[in-house]
């Protein structure tokens, strides 16, 4: 009895394993479409950002196919297709799926998985196949110092995350001198910290506190108590999602007040306010993109850039349709979507899908979409996209910096936690 169960199981495993591989092999490659391949992180530690990226890509593909009419190649309109697998946020799966995407599915471009580590893991495989590799999830600047030829970044580099916030405070409050840095101890957040530290020194701020906390931390009390003692004028820091919520919450618990608090990654997400409610009032975060940014065809004309893609509201509608869920896209979705548009423009410009030609066209490409500006330097590093500073005001995300993208004034200083507990909200001055 047991044995027959086992036998059946084994046969199922084998069938499951090998047959489909040959079916997919037999499928003929059609020149009638452009295929985007993506080892998406749909489960595991990056599931949250992975889902967003998936929705963003689906939304922009939908727009290109149905509104834009397809990619113009040699006088024909060619539709985009999307092939993705779940890499479980694990490196072993990333390379095996990229290998499959390139050789079995014969994709024309590979989109990177989320995080710098996984992006780097895939790079040697795409490089060896001469395959274009577009990076919307790896912010580490070092990726672009490795001599890869086919990698192009859409997400902005990590060192730039907090520069805008520092510029803003430098301008609106020249008296504020003491800044505290408290970041997660991870390659990404450390990179942000280095960028922020350098920039702060350049602007003449005093760094009164500079510490990190380990990944997966569940209690920040000791670090925050030490931070409190240095009485900073404002605090910048953060790392990922859960630690940002913890950071804000425990600052409230310990009654640590300062003029401003800016946290990377976590603070700009709707879940942040939902989890913290009033405590998040006045908290800021740098973002690559936020619902409400004022990038439009008109704006693009003003600065002399080509415009492509859906308007912001169209994007949001398509995003929801793509995922079949009522969630608002965040910047992970926008940058992944903008990457589709960058590819479309570059392929049209090159009039080809050959990776070398598209890569070269991407190097010269400069455009604007709902995501904002897009331009890369010779190494593929994103330099054309500027980040915005977002602040929670009355439960809404207001873009407060840079001035040309503002949707509202900045509330500075932010209310103290005691005031917030009594229901005070952040209002611009």
């Amino acid at each position: 009895m047991k044995r027959s169960i086992f036998k059946a199981l084994f046969v199922i495993f084998i069938l499951f394993g090998f047959l489909p591989a040959y079916f997919t092999l037999a499928e003929a490659k059609s020149p009638e479409k452009i295929l985007i391949g993506h080892p998406a992180c749909l489960s595991g530690k990056y599931a949250k950002a992975g889902e967003q990226a998936l929705g963003g890509i689906k939304a922009c593909i939908d727009w290109v196919n149905n509104v834009y009419g397809g990619v113009k190649l040699e006088g024909k309109k060619v539709p985009l297709k999307y092939k993705y697998y779940d890499c479980e946020s694990k490196k072993e799966a990333v390379t095996s799926f990229i290998g499959r995407l390139i050789t079995v599915d014969k994709v024309n471009v590979v989109f990177s998985p989320y995080s710098s580590g996984l992006t780097l893991r895939g790079a040697p495989v795409t490089e060896s196949h001469g395959m274009l590799y577009m990076d919307h999830g790896g912010a580490n600047n070092k990726i672009f110092r490795q001599g890869f030829r086919y990698i192009v970044q859409t997400i902005g580099p990590a060192t730039s995350y907090h520069q805008g916030t520092l510029n803003m405070i430098h301008k609106i409050d020249p008296k504020a001198k003491k800044v505290a840095l408290a970041y997660e101890d991870s390659e990404f957040a450390k990179m942000v910290m280095h960028g922020a530290e350098e920039h702060a020194k350049k602007l003449g701020f005093d760094i009164v506190f500079k510490r990190t906390y380990p990944k997966g931390v569940t209690d920040l009390t000791p670090l925050l108590s030490a931070l409190k003692a240095t009485k900073p004028d404002f605090i910048i820091g953060g790392g990922h999602f859960e630690d940002g919520q913890l950071f804000n919450r425990q600052m409230a618990d310990l009654d640590i007040n300062s003029n401003a608090l800016s946290l990377i990654a976590a603070a700009t997400l709707p879940a942040f306010y939902k989890a913290l409610t009033n405590m998040a009032e006045g908290v800021m975060g740098p973002s690559h993109w936020e619902y409400g940014v004022k990038y439009s065809a008109k704006e693009a004309k003003k600065v002399g850039l080509d415009w492509i893609g859906p308007s912001q509201d169209e994007f949001v509608t398509l995003f929801k349709k793509g995922l079949g869920k009522e969630i608002i896209p965040d910047y992970h979705a926008a940058e992944a979507g903008a990457q589709v548009l960058a590819y479309v423009l570059a392929a049209e410009k090159a009039n080809s899908v050959a990776p070398d030609k598209v890569r070269a066209a991407l190097g010269d490409l400069k455009f604007m979409s709902f995501y904002g500006g897009w331009d890369v330097d010779d190494t593929g590093l994103q330099v054309g996209h500027s980040m915005v500073a977002v602040q929670w005001q009355m439960g809404k995300r207001i873009i407060v910096w840079p001035e040309e993208a503002q949707t509202g004034g900045v509330a500075y200083p932010m209310p103290t936690f005691a005031e917030k507990a009594k229901g005070k909200v952040a209002v611009p001055r």
Binding site: S43, K45, A47, K48, E51, D185, R211, T212, Y213, P214, G216, V217, T218, D219, T221, P222, L223, S225, A226, A229, F241, E242, D243, Q245, L246, N248, R249, Q250, D253, L254, D255, A266, L269, A271, F272, K274, A275, L276, T277, N278, M279, A421
Partner: protein, 295 residues
């Protein structure tokens, strides 16, 4: 100044440590009776956190009332998993039980993800704060601490005053001997497993009272590792040992930060983590029965 910070941190550590201790009692209880290390421990804490979140946000139920609900859910899960899975593995080598409990953990995580999504959530139960001058303690933390102590005391009484409790103790001592003396060993195993998971899920509620944000399906991993260290401090097989282990752990984790921060060129927070695992090794080697020797 430094001393003030140190004392402040120690107070925080003590309050947190009580909750950590309670969150480890279930692990120790299950190990003590069944000799099974529950590698999916953190996933059960996560279930407790989601119960609290859901009761509070959807139904407006006070987190304190979520404790018994979570306890009952945990008991239910415990009985379910015991009779479907664990029962068959009592005599199996460690390897099998380690892996099965891990798989149960994944199953819970993925199920919760399917229902609630992978969003990071939180709730805000505003009941004020106490300012001690050197540090500030929100009332929620104090309630969580009191709750932990009460649960630990109840468990103590149950162990020492009830028939089922003493049966359980006899199985911990010597399961064959207990069987000879007419103790229903199978039933005791089931009850301990259920009770252990009940405690663990309930501790998830208390932990969210301490840290009511960042609740998501994968939040448990960090707590599993912490629970291992704490359980070893307390002697692994003893639930009360675990409770005191938690207190010691909280004190060391919070107190050592201030001291490590004095060393230039290092990351003190990561070193506090290093210290806790170094401590684990040392204790396992020199005193495997835990800092407070079990009876």
């Amino acid at each position: 100044m430094l001393l003030e910070q140190l004392i402040g941190n120690l107070i925080q550590g003590l309050v947190l440590g009580a909750v950590y201790g309670m969150a480890t009692m279930g692990l120790s209880l299950i190990f003590g009776v069944l000799k099974v290390v529950n590698v999916g421990h953190g996933a059960f804490i996560m279930v407790g956190a989601f119960i609290t979140l859901w009761l509070f946000n959807a139904l407006g139920i006070n987190p304190i009332l979520a404790v018994p609900v979570a306890f009952i859910v945990g008991m239910g899960l415990g009985l379910l998993f015991y009779y479907t899975i664990m029962q068959r593995l009592i005599k199996a080598p460690e390897l099998a039980t380690l892996l099965v409990t891990f798989a149960i953990g994944i199953l819970l995580e993925e199920t919760v993800k399917l229902i609630f999504g992978s969003e990071f959530r939180g709730y805000n139960w505003a009941v004020g704060k106490i300012n001690l001058g050197i540090t500030v303690l929100p009332m929620t933390k104090i309630y969580a601490c009191i709750g932990s102590v009460v649960i630990a005391l109840l468990l103590y009484l149950w162990f020492n005053k009830t028939r089922a409790g003493s049966a359980m103790r006899s199985v911990v001592e010597d399961s064959e001997g207990a069987r000879v003396c007419g103790v229903n060993v199978g039933g005791t195993y089931a009850l301990s497993f259920a009770l252990g998971l009940g405690l663990t899920v309930a501790s998830g509620v208390l932990l969210t009272m301490f840290i009511p944000v960042g609740i998501n399906p994968y939040m448990g991993g960090g707590y599993t590792l912490k629970a291992f260290v704490i359980a070893v401090l307390g002697g692994l097989a003893s639930p009360y040992g675990a409770f005191f282990g938690g207190l010691i752990f909280g004190l060391i984790e919070n107190g050592s930060y201030t001291l490590f921060a004095l060393i230039p060129g290092v990351e003190p927070f990561a070193l506090t983590r290093f210290l806790s695992f170094a401590m684990l090794l040392v204790i396992l080697l020199i005193r495997p029965t835990g800092l407070l020797r079990a009876k």
